[in-house]
């Protein structure tokens, strides 16, 4: 009978993987103690710890040892395994860094079964409020929790609800904004696909609190599986009478429909989103009046992000005070981040507000994929900015990120290492915003295009030093004069990269040099004659026939023909091709 399971994993960042070797030694030790029947030794693929040397996890006691040496095997077996003693010098006492609230059911429940959701405390919050809470008390509970909108701007959710509740006009609407479009962000999709019922329950609670009778999911059509799961969930809710008239024998009636977005980024902006639902062209219009006063079809409307709504049932069920215990003074609760880019373990992390950025990158996600230094982290998608390496210790919450010149945004986090060029990054995001600009207001339409042109020029080596001033001027006018968040925030990547990496822009302009080697036009490939063995590999492989010479005289690259594809450097076995 197996009494204990020992999981082994070498988590050192450098050196060869010693997991297998240690596993064999440990197994020998177990054999010597004649414990083979009682102890199961397993090599793990990942234990969630990084840079801790050899890590042992002993179940079912859940003891974690780190920096274990071969010499420790004997005492681990004789003391911990045989006698349940804990070795204090090896123990790793780390509180779990992640707290799952919005993602509490993701990966746990079957998203296609309402019964599984009910089993995992689903609809407890709804049945409580329908029988015991007045709408005011629900809003109060939200106020206590300090929940702020998770879609980007961070507006307190209770204020939105209260404003909608106090507007005297019916019908009122609830909209779930599931038009997630930031490059590299997909936390909403995961919740929609993994836990559709909690979003629906969140919408119902919101509807009860503000007095709404109708709700809409606005989901982008590029998420077919999410749409399917929500559709199925809505059908099951209808069949169970959890949507429709007199829900749970109360006076509360509510129904939800789905509207698909055709993939315009600007439709994530609330006024454009409502125009899109109404069947109009998806362009924003000026606020005020805010949607909570005059929204969908001129009626009071609450628009909440997917993640915000997924938090709501938890807040009601566990109490606002409990939620407010997590996080910082100004930002409560947790936030889901989609960590992507040059990161070892990409994926979704849900962390309490106020966690240092460094811990997310290194402790949870295991550092960069290449092992190189982090150069900067881009947060908030195309509306956000970069946080440079030197500021990695910033505590992540709404206000701190804003101070750094970035935003929380919907929670995309793109990690860049020293191989990434900051001008190129700014160009990528500007290109995205220019393509997605709806064209209604001039600052966004023309300003974005002009910035992109200048950035293109700089990366092609045709930049002028005045360009930097021009960039800053255009950025300010866009921020001040654009109609909606898209235009106001579009220059953010440029502003923040200029702020932290101005010398890199200058290098491009003055020295015509890209230190990351990303800007193709600024690169030159040359053959280092001293290292060249005249093997002709580059000569035969060059697709542009830009390499001339023969095996007697050696080879050289004709710069006017070179397309800078990098093939010669790739095939050279003697590292005789330099890229600068």
């Amino acid at each position: 009978m197996v009494k204990r399971i020992v999981l082994i994993k070498d988590t050192a960042a450098t050196g060869p993987d010693t997991t297998r070797d240690f596993y064999n030694r440990f197994l020998d030790g177990v054999r010597e103690h004649k414990l083979l029947d009682e102890v199961m030794v397993v090599r793990a693929a990942d234990l969630g710890y990084y840079g801790h040397g050899l890590v042992l996890k002993i179940m079912p006691n859940n003891i974690v040892y780190h920096n274990v040496q071969n010499s420790d095997i004997e005492r681990i077996i004789s003391r911990t395994i045989e006698n349940s003693q804990i070795l204090d010098d090896l123990i790793l006492n780390e509180k779990p860094k992640q707290i799952k609230i919005a993602l509490r059911n993701c990966g746990l429940i079957d998203p296609e079964s309402i019964n599984d959701y009910i089993f995992h405390d689903g609809y407890k919050a709804l049945s409580t409020i329908l029988s015991e809470y007045t709408p005011e008390k629900v809003i109060d509970e939200l106020k206590k929790s300090g929940l702020r909108g998770r879609g980007g701007a961070g507006y307190p959710t209770w204020m939105k609800w209260k404003s909608c509740r106090t507007t005297r006009s019916t019908p009122k609407y609830i909209i779930c904004n599931a038009d997630e479009g930031d490059p590299g962000a997909y936390m909403d999709r995961s919740i929609l696909e993994g836990d559709p019922y909690s979003i629906i329950e969140g919408m119902m609670i919101a509807a009860y609190a503000v007095g709404a009778s109708k709700g809409y999911f606005y989901i982008r059509a590029e998420y077919p599986l999410a749409v399917k799961r929500i559709q199925e969930a809505l059908i099951q809710c209808h069949e169970a009478g959890l949507l429709g008239d007199n829900i749970l024998d109360s006076k509360f009636s509510f129904d939800i429909d789905i509207r698909l977005g055709a993939g315009a980024f600007v439709c994530g902006e609330e006024t454009a989103l409502m125009a899109s639902i109404e069947g109009k062209r998806g362009t924003p219009h000026p606020r005020p009046p805010y949607p909570t006063v005059s929204g969908l079809w001129g009626q009071p409307t609450v628009i909440n992000n997917v993640e915000t709504l997924a938090n709501v049932p938890y807040i009601i069920f566990k109490g606002g005070d409990n939620f407010a215990k997590i996080g910082t003074t100004s930002s409560k609760g947790t936030k889901v981040f989609a960590v992507t880019g040059k990161i070892k373990n990409s994926g979704l992390v849900e962390v309490p507000m106020g966690i240092p950025l460094r811990e997310i990158i290194y402790d949870i996600c295991g550092g960069t994929l290449s092992g190189k230094d982090v150069k900067a982290i881009q947060t908030g998608g195309p509306s956000g900015g970069v946080i440079p390496n030197k500021n990695l210790d910033v505590l992540v919450d709404y206000d701190n990120l804003q101070k750094m010149g970035s935003i929380m945004g919907s929670g995309g986090m793109i990690v860049m290492d020293t191989d990434d060029c900051m001008v190129d990054i700014a160009k990528f995001y500007l290109g995205f915003c220019v393509e997605e600009s709806c064209g209604k207001c001039a600052p966004c339409r023309i300003g974005g295009f002009q910035i992109l042109q200048i950035l293109n020029r700089i990366t092609e080596g045709k930049g002028k030093i005045e360009d930097i001033t021009t960039l800053k001027r255009i950025a300010v006018s866009m921020q001040k004069a654009s109609l909606c968040g898209l235009g106001q925030n579009a220059p953010n990547p440029v502003v923040s990269t200029l702020n932290y990496f101005e010398e890199e822009y200058k290098e491009h302009i003055i020295n015509k040099h890209c230190r990351a080697g990303k800007c193709v036009a600024l690169l030159t490939y040359t053959i280092i004659q001293e290292k060249c063995k005249k093997c002709a590999l580059c000569f035969t492989n060059c697709p542009a026939k830009a390499i001339s010479g023969n095996r007697e005289t050696g080879y050289k690259i004709d710069q006017s023909l070179c397309t800078k594809c990098g093939k010669c450097k790739e095939v050279c076995k003697f590292k005789a091709v330099s890229k600068e």
Binding site: V42, D46, L47, D110, I118, G194, L248, L348
Partner: protein, 114 residues
């Protein structure tokens, strides 16, 4: 289906808790499916049926560890709940043969245990 009320919730919770015995749960969000979760699910479905394993096969959403998709969570034979990562059709067979049939965890694939 008849309309739910508070009593139905209680019935469902009792029923489900009796039902939450041994299971294999495959992460079937877009990220998992893109990494091959559907194929893995099909292997489990076919083998469980043809070899009469007394284990329930479930679908679940994304647990956040996208780097290790497809993810498979197994609760069987009184062992702790184990999550396997980067599961291929071959590893799926190993999970059935070793973990489910013989209570032996599969080496080099465990990403979490609780």
């Amino acid at each position: 289906m008849s309309k739910f009320n508070r009593d139905t919730f209680i019935t469902i919770r009792n029923q489900e808790s009796a039902d939450q015995t041994d299971y294999i749960s495959v992460g079937m969000s877009a990220c998992g499916i893109a990494a091959g979760a559907q194929e893995v699910y099909d292997v489990f479905a076919k083998q469980i049926k043809s070899r009469n394993f007394a284990i329930k096969l479930k679908k679940c959403g994304c647990a956040g560890m996208c780097f290790a998709e497809p993810l498979v969570e197994v609760k069987a034979n009184g062992l702790p709940v184990v999550t396997y990562g980067k599961v291929t059709e071959e590893i799926a067979m190993l999970i059935l043969e070793k973990h489910v049939a013989n209570s032996q965890l599969v080496n080099d694939s465990v990403v979490n245990i609780r």
